[in-house]
């Protein structure tokens, strides 16, 4: 265990190794490590940002969904209202139409009745003449008794 020239040579070698390490080994690999660290950090940040944007988007979607729901219920309510209104309108129209038809029928019936009465009146006059002819056993001149017949017709 004598100190000798080996010490000097080992020291020189040691410095040479340090130089080699500091020049060729340490910087490139450290750079690679740091670059990767940066990439990973960026990736994580991007993931975080993505998460955040996803959350805002989900919130917006929820808002839009509720809005759409309220709009649709509004539309449904409007539709319901419109339906009832239409039905009511149709009902009242139908009622009016029915009343009109009934009124027209009544008028026609009255007309018919009046016409029947008229014809009955004429026939009563004829019948009266025929009856009188039977009673008198002879021809009765309706012209001669026109005044009388008219009076009967009027009475009828």
């Amino acid at each position: 265990m004598n100190i000798n020239l080996t010490l000097v040579m080992q020291a020189v070698a040691f410095f040479a190794f340090i130089w080699f390490c500091a020049r060729f080994i340490w910087p490139p690999l450290m750079q690679a490590i740091e670059t990767r660290q940066k990439q990973i950090a960026e990736g994580l940040a991007a993931g975080e940002a993505g998460k955040k944007s996803l959350a805002t988007t989900e919130k917006r979607i929820a808002e839009m969904l509720t809005e759409a729901k309220s709009r649709s219920s509004e539309i449904i309510a409007q539709g319901d209202k419109l339906k009832t209104e239409t039905i009511e309108a149709a009902k009242s129209e139908a009622k009016a139409e029915g009343e009109r038809i009934v009124a027209a029928a009544k008028a026609e019936i009255e007309q018919e009745v009046a016409r029947a009465k008229e014809s009955l009146r004429n026939q009563v006059a004829d019948l009266a003449v025929a009856g009188a002819r039977q009673i008198l056993q002879r021809e009765v001149d309706p012209k001669a008794h026109a005044d009388l017949l008219a009076a009967i017709q009027k009475q009828f």
């Binding site: 390490c21 690999l29 990767r36």
Partner: protein
């Protein structure tokens, strides 16, 4: 395992394993020797380890990483977190220093897992007697690392505080700026500066050296016969498993102390 002419005794066995494969420079002795085993093992391990890291780095991508890249990144991130937790200065080179220190000490320590005798026989077959495979069990390696860190410490101290500021701090901290306190401050700082590289290097060296010796002592069981060899093997396994902790822990401590020392150099008292 020992040269044929010497008798195989426990002492010679251990001494054999603790002898470096050396070459001298300029026919000098003492300091002018090179522990070839330490140096070559360090180079091979470092080239393999840093070559592997470089290969992964070259193919690295900021996209989905491959499994190997993910594993390497885990190591980088671990070192980077430690540096970030301790060091708050400007220099961008502290983290690579920490990584280099950690990887280097970890793999050099890990050479301790290789079984001493099999390695020894293998190197002997290649013609190398006395090849010690664990560079961090060589005090030269740990001192080289610790003194390099020490040099960086001084460098950053002067760089951050200026030469004047650093010298001022040597005399005026931590007790006060009164001239009478200058010797005490200087002594305190001297002890601090001396103890840092010493404890830094000797902690690693001591752990790895002791670990190696324990492996050898357990290997001695084989000399007592078959039962002893089996028992030695079992103990060897246990110590190896425990050693995984030591290897990792010492590499971690060495790295942490490197960061701490360098960051302390940045902070004024």
């Amino acid at each position: 395992m020992v040269a044929e002419e010497t008798e195989l005794t426990p002492t010679s066995y251990i001494q054999h394993h603790l002898t470096f494969f050396t070459r001298t420079v300029n026919d000098g002795a003492g300091f002018w020797t090179i522990n070839v085993d330490t140096l070559v093992t360090t180079m091979v391990i470092a080239v393999l380890a840093f070559g592997f890291l470089w290969l992964i780095t070259r193919k690295s991508t900021a996209g989905v990483p491959s499994r190997v890249q993910a594993f390497v990144e885990l190591t980088f991130d671990f070192v980077n977190e430690q540096v970030k937790g301790i060091y708050h200065g400007e220099s961008r080179i502290v983290a690579p220093i920490a990584l280099t220190t950690f990887v280097l000490t970890l793999f050099l320590n890990a050479m301790d897992f290789l079984p001493v005798d099999i390695m020894s026989h293998g190197f002997e077959a290649l013609g190398f007697h006395n090849w010690r495979p664990v560079p961090t069990a060589d005090v030269n390696t740990t001192f080289a690392l610790a003194l390099s860190v020490f040099a960086m410490m001084i460098y950053y101290s002067i760089k951050v505080k200026g030469l004047g500021g650093w010298i001022h701090e040597l005399f005026c901290a931590p007790f006060g700026a009164h001239p009478l306190l200058w010797p005490a401050n200087l002594l305190f700082n001297a002890v601090e500066y001396l103890s840092k590289p010493l404890s830094h290097s000797l902690r690693l060296f001591g752990n790895m050296y002791a670990g190696e010796i324990i492996f050898m002592l357990l290997g001695l069981w084989a000399a007592t016969g078959v039962v002893g060899a089996v028992l030695g093997g079992v103990l060897h396994l246990g110590w190896s498993i425990f050693h995984i902790l030591i290897v990792g822990l010492q590499a971690y401590i060495f790295m942490m102390l490197t960061i701490v020392y360098i960051s302390m150099a940045h902070e004024g008292h």
